[in-house]
């Protein structure tokens, strides 16, 4: 294991309550805190653990997005990534475009393993890892909660609807990570200082020969219908009575 590529997406912070714009053109992003997609943070933590377990693999963090995405890549460097690459674009990046872009980077970098989150918490698309694996013509292990790398192979435990599934994949491969794979480390102040000196390359999307296509055109974005606040009951007997009267028990 010489090199691990970790894909990082800049997203609205997990704790922000997102609101839609009054003109229905999207969600309000002005002045909103942005962070590393939490699933990608787990992916990076896993890469660092594989490195620290003795493989000493180089960990390369890659992102696609606006110039400010450098902030999230600096966070990745502070966590422990060795270097970072930002593929800069001002266009919205859909999963297929992201996969094409990451493929172009992967072809240059030739990583043994690509780790990324199973979904981004903004568009919740859950596509990029699978698309990247398809375009790269390599194995995919999605929703992974346990990963064991052994030479040119890896064994991945996946969280699926029926429980857990284990598969074996040949490397190089794409692995998308789930919540319970690990708990990402906290960044310490000295690491933030050190991260400022680590290399962060910025390249243009065009330089990779990828066009930022708008495959899907958003027509409008609205708030979901709100549920009405219901009634409070005083005790269990009343609760059971109401449920029975509604025909629910």
């Amino acid at each position: 294991m010489k090199k691990i590529m970790v894909c990082i997406k800049r997203v609205v912070d997990y704790n922000v309550r997102v609101r839609v714009k009054p003109d229905e053109s999207g969600v309000m992003l002005e002045g909103v805190k942005m962070s590393v997609n939490p699933f990608d943070e787990i992916a990076l933590e896993e890469a660092l653990r594989i490195k620290e377990r003795g493989t000493n693999a180089e960990v390369v963090a890659v992102s696609i997005g606006v110039a400010d995405t450098q902030q999230q890549l600096r966070t990745a460097l502070a966590m422990g990534a060795d270097r970072a690459i930002l593929v800069q674009t001002d266009h919205p990046v859909e999963p297929l475009t992201a996969a094409q872009t990451l493929l172009a980077v992967a072809k240059k970098e030739s990583p043994d393993l690509i780790l990324l989150g199973k979904q981004a918490i903004d568009d919740d698309a859950n596509q990029t890892a699978q698309m990247l694996a398809a375009l790269w013509d390599r194995p995919q292990a999605t929703y992974v909660s346990k990963l064991a790398v052994d030479g040119a192979k890896a064994t991945a435990t996946r969280e699926v609807d029926a429980g857990l599934e284990t598969i074996e994949i040949d490397l190089p491969a794409v692995v998308s990570v789930d919540l319970r794979l690990n708990e990402p480390r906290y960044v310490k102040l000295p690491d933030i200082m050190k991260a400022k000196k680590k290399p962060l390359d910025v390249i243009g999307l065009d330089s990779l020969g990828v066009a930022a296509s708008t495959w899907l055109k958003p027509v409008k974005t609205v708030a979901p219908p709100q549920r009405q606040k219901g009634i409070m009951v005083k005790d269990v007997t009343e609760l059971v009575d109401v449920l029975k009267n509604k025909g629910l028990l």
Binding site: V12, R17, R19, V27, E94, P95, L96, A99, D122, D123, D124, A125, N126, Q127, Q130, M131, A133, A134, P139, Q140, A141, T142, Y143, T155, E159, V160, D161, A162, G163, L164, E165, T166, I167, E168, I169, D170, R180, W215, L216, K217, P218, V219, K220, T221, V222, P224, R227, K229, G230, I231, M232, V233, D235, V236, T237, L239, V240, L243, L248, L249
Partner: protein
Amino acid sequence: MAKILIIGEHDGKTLNPSTHKCVTCAKGIPDAAISVLLLGADTAVVAAQAAAIQGVTEVVRVDRPENAHPLAATFAPQVAAVASGYTHLFGPSTSFGKDLTPRVAALLGVPQVSDLMAVEGAHRFRRPIYAGNAIVTVDADPARLLVATVRVASFEAAPIGGSATIVSRSLDLALPTHTRYVGAHSGSTDRPDLQTAKRVVSGGRALASAENFKILFALADKIGAAVGASRAAVDAGYAPNELQVGQTGKIIAPEVYMAFGISGAIQHLTGIKDARTIVAVNKDPEAPIFEVADLGLVADLFQVVPEMTRLLGG
């Protein structure tokens, strides 16, 4: 005219209800001919089940030994090969469909629309973003094959009563061997399936142990309910991962959802907002779950659950 191909989900014996729900979604597209594709080692039994879904005109079987387990790497090229000639390809937004469908889309060089929750036209759909805090309407290019996953909680299962034609296809494709199935493990029992159950009893971190979850199982068994759990309860090891309900777990739409000791984080609520009736029992009167609950009770779940089980006995 739309020609829609649905990727059927099954375990070799039973067709997953996600397939019936995809059919209902597909019926929302005007003037559509609906086919179901089944890949497996032997799909004879499940093909008969798919052919009986009302609205399905054709069932396509691709049987080969490599299809014994649904691996995206081996399934995707086969689905892509069959999909040419169709206008739409739908997969369910279950772990099976979410794993497989984007790989097919990329092989075909087309984008995917994830989690269709409503059909507004042959190429216009609504889908949730930001954990369901916003709903976006998107237009897809009508000149391309439309690939999508269907948010199964948004659709009723299509009824039985049809009689579709069943055809077998053999595909001359060399399949990759770089991905191999090793095994599966389920912590669940023979209780009703969480994604299709009419009643769900669910527990949060307040249960405090896996042992304590047994009181929920007792109540669930009394009323024929499935059991769910919050992320916090699964993370703490009180319940197996397949019980998790929420943004990153299962999105469900039962007739009644009973949340015990679940505070109601937004990521959890996104998984239950399609439930017809939400019941919340929590010691904390300020718990956000009460904002969405149809019926709320401020009380200690360790008193409420056994009491409910007792009241419902006999």
